[in-house]
Symmetry: C2
Subunit: 463 residues, 2 copies
Amino acid sequence: MPKRALADRSLQISLLSKRLHEILISDDFWRNIEFLTNERNIERLSEEDRIVVERLKKDVEKARKIPADFIERLSKAEALSYSAWEIAKKRSKFDIFLPHLKEIVELKREYCSYINLEGHIYNNLLDDYEEGMRYEKLKPAFEYLREKLSKLLDKLESEERINIKLSVRSQERLSHIILRYLGLKKDRFRIDLSEHPFTTRLSTFDVRITTRYLKENPLSSLFSTMHEAGHAIYELNLPKGKFRYTVISDAPSLGLHESQSRFWENIIGRSYSFWRFFYPILKKVEPRFEADIEDIYRYVNTIRRSLIRTEADEVSYNLHIVLRFEIETELIENRIEAKDLPEIWNEKMEEIIGIRPKSDREGILQDMHWSTGDFGYFPSYTIGNIYSAQQLYALRRDIEDMDSKVEHGDFNEIKDWLVRNIHRYGRMYTSEDIMKMCCGEGLNPQIFVRYLENKFLQRKFTI
Amino acid sequence: MPKRALADRSLQISLLSKRLHEILISDDFWRNIEFLTNERNIERLSEEDRIVVERLKKDVEKARKIPADFIERLSKAEALSYSAWEIAKKRSKFDIFLPHLKEIVELKREYCSYINLEGHIYNNLLDDYEEGMRYEKLKPAFEYLREKLSKLLDKLESEERINIKLSVRSQERLSHIILRYLGLKKDRFRIDLSEHPFTTRLSTFDVRITTRYLKENPLSSLFSTMHEAGHAIYELNLPKGKFRYTVISDAPSLGLHESQSRFWENIIGRSYSFWRFFYPILKKVEPRFEADIEDIYRYVNTIRRSLIRTEADEVSYNLHIVLRFEIETELIENRIEAKDLPEIWNEKMEEIIGIRPKSDREGILQDMHWSTGDFGYFPSYTIGNIYSAQQLYALRRDIEDMDSKVEHGDFNEIKDWLVRNIHRYGRMYTSEDIMKMCCGEGLNPQIFVRYLENKFLQRKFTI
């Protein structure tokens, strides 16, 4: 989208969202749902239709819990807070953001009082991104990761600096080649450029991704393309036909969505098998390319402590998330105060990741999530990483010769497995239930740690 | 847009249009308009606001004339008719289309009875595309063109075949270069590929065009880019600010819109001055290019009788329109019958353009307009051509050294003139009134003929 289009586009989207919300919470709509779900009628529906209607009922019940004036207050506060965060980050001054953050935390606590789920207060926030997931389950999982991954990071940290170079034109060609191998065809897909890569669905037959080509970070475009392709493949395979405009034609959680992007970016894209397939292609596109396959494999799997989440490797990335999880849960419990956050952040960084930010910009202000009220969002990144490793083991169980398939760039069976076991259900079941069906269990951080240890300690070069 | 997205996109658009129409014709909305336009209130509005409100009132009055059930009947008939036309054209069999065309003509006559403007029945149709324009004015103008342009065609027809070649990559570069010279910048504009070039506005800050690169027709992409750029410049300069979501932030007629595309495509793009500017650029992009500037000028101005409107030159194009105008006016008057159309078409082609189609596909079935009920649409193409020539003479009066500006690729003053005199008014006035203000008179086909005679007979190589 052209830059200047932003104001109008925002206006259009907010108008349509507002109208949608009005319909969703209207008494008229509610009466229709009650009619469909009364004892006599619900029995007459097919099983699939029943799932759709009950899913919708749950969404509407939740939406009706929140007073209209609260939504307005929250939106306004978030808009102001986001602007303040932008300025604060630019100037690296937490104080500019502080009063807004305080207000957002208060509003989010108020929000929790409306939703009022069982257990920990944080469950009310988590539920918006990871429906059905609970603090009580996440807390020990993240504690386990904190311990295991910190140790792993100590062992794996590398001082080596490998230099590789790829022209923007070669990067572009490689992105288009991998998209073709992943089966993303022009009749329902397109790729464009933007500053921050993202995926957007205009319909289940019109999914678009963006990427960006960075001279100084030559493989970043390939990985971001594979990442967004993972999201896109998911979106393109959500329930269609009579379900395409129902509430189930969507992912059940951000974590499961992220598992699909991380699967293609990390599990496949950073595997040795993948580079056995892709290295010759890269050499063909850029014949003067100097690094050999071992160099590239080490390059894309370099483990190094860093201050910035979005630049972190497969291991330390999750420590960044653990840190945010700890802070946001304590903040929402009112056990810590917003004003102390820069110090708390820096302390925790040193404790968990072993380095200390020198500025607010590199510390507490680096992510926008809290400024837009997205408390409870961060865990989904790590949930996605864990799920993707669990899916890998299930795939290795179900597909013979998976490594050799990847080595030949034959991703069809893998894709089919993901479609059949995950994508096609949409929101008919929760992420945890879908994972239980295809992987035999819900979130299991041990599998993820086992995957990392296999890969990085035992140097198992296969997937 | 990816191809498979079509069904969902159509559904979305029809849902939004339907909702918009419902609001537009609602009694509630009408009461608000009456309140704003009552004697006491209308006086309190600023002149601009008054124009907006009165413009809106006229639109709503017209929309309220048409019964809801009629709109439904017409939409259904048009959808079926369009499909039938597609098949009929593919098989070159008018009979497949005939029953649908008959029904559409009947429905359009019914439509005229609801609108019920003064004068000729055709005025009711014309008014949807060329508000304020009348059959009584168009008829003599088109008779004049028929006579003058037929003679001109006899004199100018050329047997010469010039061959030029440009790689798709060079075509693409030339398109991007000319867009830059025309001042279309990425912050509010983009260009994509599609089978049929078009312009679309998502907001007054987000206007997009498409083009296509044809190996066998190497300059077609350049002209289609300039054509769509003309539309885009218009859209980008329509009333903004507090007017951006009002009825006046639009063109007053298709003809005036088309005058802008034709202006850049033909008046500028096919002028000798333009090629003095652009030929060196072309040579730089494609150094092996063989034709010289004289060759290209003759190539882009070749006059030749052809069966297909969209492939016609600056002179004969309008004869194709005259033919359609004559047929559709008689059809809507019920003076001829749909079943006789293939024969009538072929006869008229021979009379007016001097060649006879050998099939329905090349004759009566070549355009989709009638299949979608667009009677009264065709004249706007020629109105656009006429207006663009009138604008040329006004520009030559107001801008010193216009030729030399074009020869240097300096289009700023020309663009500013068009923005100041045409674009910025949006729909505040009719096209005829806007033309009177900037060119001293409304539609004048003599100016257009004079422009063609100057250019083609006297070989005046300047604009």
